[in-house]
């Protein structure tokens, strides 16, 4: 049984089709990546998953059932546009959200204190949100989404605005939450985060699904067109090999583009004749490259 299943979902705003026949199935306990440029239909899809708006066509099921009011308590949501009450104490508003989602105050208070100490911000329990830095507000926002131990967690651009240390902290946290069996729907522009966290993805472009399925399998269908090489001496003559399309050199590191993965062997042979090889790798395409090739535009 899927935690969330979108079956041929279509949504129009007026004459505009925002989501066109989307088919997304998310297994329990997985992290699912929803990708797309701005305006691709991610937010609308997420709002439909949240039950805020209904699709025009198709059917969504949550844990195998249709939408009920009870589902609000099973879902945690971190919106892309961050929103907290600026003038209200952190503890007060987090406990408010938790109570609304059916937690008891005492349980929620304990959870909140655990979360704050995990994020090393215990001293903000009694602070007003407007007194906090952007990054710390973000952590509070994250806590607001998970305070009631949701079965389904929806994270829209969760890493934006965080420094690298906190990105790593949050990544580890998300993996922990997943390990406890929570299903996570995750959206991001940053493909490296998606690559690291998600098993399955769905890529939207102007409302249409352009890629869907297992990330590993998707990558395998793309040819390996890149070789990274590091040697102890200069190596010449890569350009003359047939199948090599581009060579970028920085120091003794080479980034070679090829049109056919078989050329990689010749590159290896050529390099080992002239120098000692420290590092040789045939790169699979990055999700970023796949994204750009599919969406065509700039990855914002």
């Amino acid at each position: 049984m899927y935690s969330i299943s979108l079956n041929q979902i279509t949504k129009h705003y007026g004459a505009k089709t925002v989501v066109n026949q989307a088919e997304i199935n998310i297994r329990q306990g997985e992290i699912f990546g929803l990708l797309g440029a701005n305006g691709a239909g991610k937010t609308t899809t997420m709002r439909m998953v949240l039950g805020l708006i209904a699709p025009d066509q198709g059917k969504i099921t949550w844990f195998g059932k249709s939408y009920t009011d009870q589902l609000r308590r099973a879902i945690g949501y971190l919106p892309e546009e961050r929103g907290l009450y600026p003038k209200i104490k952190v503890s007060e508003q987090i406990l408010y959200f938790a109570e609304l989602r059916g937690s008891t105050r005492a349980q929620a208070d304990k959870n909140l204190k655990d979360w704050l100490s995990r994020f090393n911000i215990s001293e903000y329990y009694d602070k007003r949100v407007e007194e906090l830095s952007k990054g710390n507000q973000q952590k509070i926002q994250f806590i607001a989404a998970v305070i009631h131990n949701p079965q389904l967690l929806i994270l829209d651009e969760v890493f934006s605005g965080l420094d690298p240390v906190n990105v790593e902290l949050l990544k580890a946290t998300i993996k922990d939450i997943q390990a406890q069996g929570t299903t996570i729907l995750f959206s991001s522009h940053r493909m490296e985060h998606v690559e690291e966290l998600c098993e399955n993805i769905c890529m939207l472009h102007k409302g249409n699904t352009v890629l869907e399925g297992n990330l590993r399998e998707i990558k395998n269908t793309y040819p390996r067109e890149r070789v990274l090489l590091e040697t102890d001496q200069n190596v010449n003559g890569f350009e003359s090999l047939t199948g090599v399309t581009d060579v970028q050199k920085s120091g003794r590191k080479y980034d070679i583009r090829i049109s056919d993965s078989r050329v990689a062997k010749e590159i290896m042979a050529l390099a080992s004749n002239q120098a000692e090889i420290f590092h040789f790798q045939i790169m699979e395409p990055s999700l970023n490259e796949i994204f750009i090739s599919k969406v065509g535009g700039v990855n914002e």
Binding site: K11, H12, Y13, G14, R47, M48, L50, G51, L52, I53, A54, D56, I60, Y67, D69, R72, I75, Y77, P79, E81, R82, G83, L84, Y85, P86, I88, Y96, F97, E99, L100, R101, G102, A144, A145
Partner: protein, 421 residues
């Protein structure tokens, strides 16, 4: 589910614990205290000494009688200071002027022509002083004229016996109101109308501000995914209603406490008012109409607040609702003196005006019970209707950001953004 209770509690406590609530309540309580005690304060500060009016004995005929008149009527708070005449009028004028400059008198009277007396003073004319002086001089003139005409003392007394006019309201129902009751009703209805007006406007505004505030801080995104828009909206409306009722209760208690101070009690009695003339039914109607009026307007305010993305724009967006309330209040002010005018009667059935105008009719006239019941039923049915409509606008509005929508666009959005059930 008790999530609506959670919303009510959160809304109420946030308002109640805010500094703004405390400061505003304290300031208004202070203003009420001052207002109630104003007559006593004025009395305390105003000099008990009568206004000293200088008169040249020979410059004014019957100057002695005028002096006697004011001695016999100490309540008029005027004392006549008599001076002996100089050689001519001009000199007297100058002499009295110098006496006034020396602070021996507050002003002086002199004849300009036979029927024209002038009162000169440096101070701004004290309230009612002119009337008191005129009444006295008119009275003396009448008496001396009558004497000149040869009318006997008995006839004069008879002539001057005043006619007493009592006002009593007659109506088809039995509960006719005495003058004191009507006076009290007027003051009371006026005060409550004002509370109703400021309350509905002020707390309705708060609802709109709160909702657009949640929208602009984007907490709304979390809120709508956490609790159903309907519960959220009504939770907020009820929460602020409780804050409003609490505040009103504080104000009424402050006013009541001040009125029960002995000095103030005597003043109310001096005005011919009797607090026991207030009918308790009127207070019950006040609560009904306050809650009814608040809910009707608050749902409107909530709907409008949900459409505005920035709190700065709220004032502009709620302008039409504000005008509606002001129109109701203005009509009610007019209706205070004409509670039985046809258009007042008609307007008392229009739900947006019912809270103020039917309340005013109950206070100032005697509408039949079925009339009151009918207007209350219409009012509460309209609240249900408005609540339904506002909830639909609300759950669409909270999802929309950006430009202001036209009604057509809104209807479109309401269709396409239908919330799944």
């Amino acid at each position: 589910m008790n999530s609506i209770r959670t919303v009510i509690k959160f809304t109420f406590l946030n308002r109640f614990r805010s500094k703004a609530f405390f400061i505003i309540t304290a300031i208004i309580a202070l203003v009420i205290t001052l207002g109630v005690n104003l007559p006593v304060i004025i009395e305390k500060f105003s000099t008990d000494e009568p206004v000293r009016v200088g008169v040249v004995q020979e410059g004014l005929p019957d100057a002695a009688m005028l002096s006697e008149y004011f001695k016999a009527n100490p309540g008029s708070n005027i004392s006549i200071v008599l001076f002996s005449a100089g050689t001519d009028g001009q000199q007297n004028d100058g002499y009295l002027q110098s006496e006034m400059d020396a602070g021996k008198i507050d002003g002086y009277l002199y004849y300009k022509s036979e029927y024209q007396v002038v009162y000169k003073s440096e101070n701004p004319l004290e309230l009612g002083l002119k009337e008191r002086l005129q009444a006295a001089m008119q009275n003396i003139k009448l008496q001396s004229d009558l004497k000149t005409l040869g009318i006997s003392q008995d006839a004069m007394t008879q002539l001057q016996t005043p006619l007493i006019l009592d006002i009593e309201q007659v109506s088809d129902t039995k509960n006719a109101k005495t003058e004191s009751e009507m006076m009290m009703a007027y003051v009371f209805v006026y005060a409550l109308l004002f509370l109703l007006y400021t309350g509905v406007l002020g707390y309705g505004n708060m609802v709109a501000m709160d909702i657009s505030g949640e929208k602009s801080s984007r907490v709304m995104e979390i809120m709508i995914s956490t609790v159903s828009p309907l519960k959220q909206m009504f939770g907020k409306i009820v929460g602020i209603c409780l804050v409003g009722l609490l505040q009103m209760l504080i104000f009424i208690a402050v006013a009541g406490a001040n009125l029960s101070i002995p000095q103030n009690k005597t003043i109310i009695q001096d005005l011919g008012l009797n607090v026991s003339d207030i009918s308790p039914a009127l207070l019950i109607y006040f609560v009904i109409f306050f809650i009814g009026g608040y809910f009707l307007y608050a749902t409107l305010f909530a709907a409008v607040g949900s459409l505005v993305s920035k709190t700065e724009e709220v004032g502009q967006a709620i302008m039409p609702i504000t005008f509606l309330i002001i129109a109701g209040f203005m009509t009610a002010m007019f209706g205070l003196t004409n509670p039985n005018a046809t258009f007042i009667v008609i307007m008392s059935y229009i739900p947006f005006f019912t809270p103020m105008i039917m309340f005013l009719r109950i206070g100032m006239a005697t509408p039949a019970f079925w009339e009151i019941a009918a207007s209350i039923i219409v009012l509460f049915l309209s609240i249900l209707g408005m609540g339904w409509l506002a909830a639909r606008v609300y759950r669409t509005g909270v999802l929309l950001y950006g430009k202001r929508l036209s009604i057509k666009e809104l209807r479109h959005a309401m269709k396409s953004l239908q919330v799944s059930k």
